[in-house]
Symmetry: C2
Subunit: 227 residues, 2 copies
DNA sequence: TAGATTGTTAATCGATTAACAATC
DNA sequence: TAGATTGTTAATCGATTAACAATC
């Protein structure tokens, strides 16, 4: 059995970035160089080549990378070949906004379910999605690939437990809570206030020197290992 | 003049994490150990100590760190001593949700303005905030510390330009666009679809081995250097 | 062929972490 | 004193990047 080459964490995040650029690029140009990609995404060109080399050789020396094939290769490497179903838990301010967010479907994610536990919300339609009661999670969990937690902090852990029990393997958590999850559940946290705090520090520094950065969004990203 | 010790990028993100934990902790316990903090935030205890050492020595051997003073020291190091004003640009789904988000004020950020350019939205109140026209930015820009861009992707760059021209030094960008900004503007990007894509890859890997992570949401985090 | 650009090596840099002396 | 825990060193690990041979 061939061991699939595991792609470094930082590289995965940048591949998603390159893919975004390549999508914007359309098909007006037949090829792009690592220099082009680097300029557009603020990444060193050598790093771009190194990142792309994890997908196996695919460029042409003296020419660059053919745009459409490269897009396909990154798409395949990230596991984005099929449309992926997303469930949103929490139909409050943030959950509702996410349910109406057009960006997900543009990049291959389909909001397949929107959950809440508030009887006043269950049954209503938000952004074309009917709000289901969280108790009905098991019925559709099998078709869900990623769940987004957009609940108040105090129930986020219990929601994560229910999602894990239902077999959901990936969680994007917007609640300001560090989730304790089993090892086979992948969690990414996006804490809006923490983002502002990090920005605050760098802005104070920046007014002295001059920097700018991003993600890891979140990338920078703090660790979250299963318990 | 004393050079202020510059704190490494990854450490800054974790300090925000520790601060969150210390806030949750309240004052029931007089002190915490690096072991305690590490367990709560999923960070190696040695790393916690190293991170905290950037603030100068503050713990007591054999005892740990006094909770309240440590909270104050991190708060000061991150520049969070005063309440900071936030402006939200874009009063659509996401901008409106952010304007109503209670988490900001809980962590010392005040939403001081909400901007849009849609005449149908200007003048309306959303979450207690009156929507102003973006043309009125200059009038209040001086009091703004961070701006959040929650506009469609196609206008995000021009909004960033206007914010920079008005003197706003820090931007949290939710639009799926890599902003080109001057060197003295600090930008952090939170791209929701990219987060899902990164999660997708790790989930596919995770079903083989078993991992879980987070931020740097952002930490991870992709680079974004000023042009 | 000359020019361009990949793919990869190897040097460098920075971040993580085990280990332990210092010390409460 | 014995036990606990910090603060820091030094080893390790992984990520970045300059450099360049390979080659279109």
């Amino acid at each position: 059995m061939v061991t699939p080459p595991s792609i470094p964490r930082a590289t995965v995040a940048r591949l998603a970035l390159y893919l975004h650029y390549l999508s914007e690029l359309g098909d007006v140009r037949p090829s792009v160089s690592s220099e082009d990609i680097g300029a557009a995404t603020n990444v060193n060109a050598a790093k771009v080549r190194k990142d792309l080399s994890y997908l196996g050789p695919g460029g042409t020396r003296g020419v660059g990378y053919a745009v459409a094939p490269l897009r396909r290769r990154i798409t395949r490497a990230l596991g984005l070949t099929k449309d992926l179903s997303v469930a949103i838990v929490g139909a409050g301010n943030l959950g509702s906004a996410l349910a109406r967010y057009p960006g997900f479907s543009q990049r291959g994610f389909t909001v397949a379910a929107l959950f809440d536990i508030d009887p006043a919300k269950v049954g209503r339609r938000i952004g074309g999605h009917r709000v289901s009661h969280l108790d009905d999670l098991d019925a559709i969990a099998a078709s869900i690939f990623v769940a987004i937690i957009a609940t108040p902090a105090d129930v986020a852990q219990s929601v994560a437990d229910r999602l894990a029990a239902a077999g959901v393997g990936a969680i994007l958590n917007f609640a300001p809570t560090l989730l304790k999850t089993a090892r086979n559940v992948v969690v990414r946290n996006v804490d809006l206030s923490t983002e502002l705090q990090i920005l605050t520090y760098h802005a104070a520094q920046g007014s002295k020197s001059g920097v700018a950065e991003n993600l890891g969004s979140a990338e920078d990203k703090q660790p979250q290992v299963g318990s």
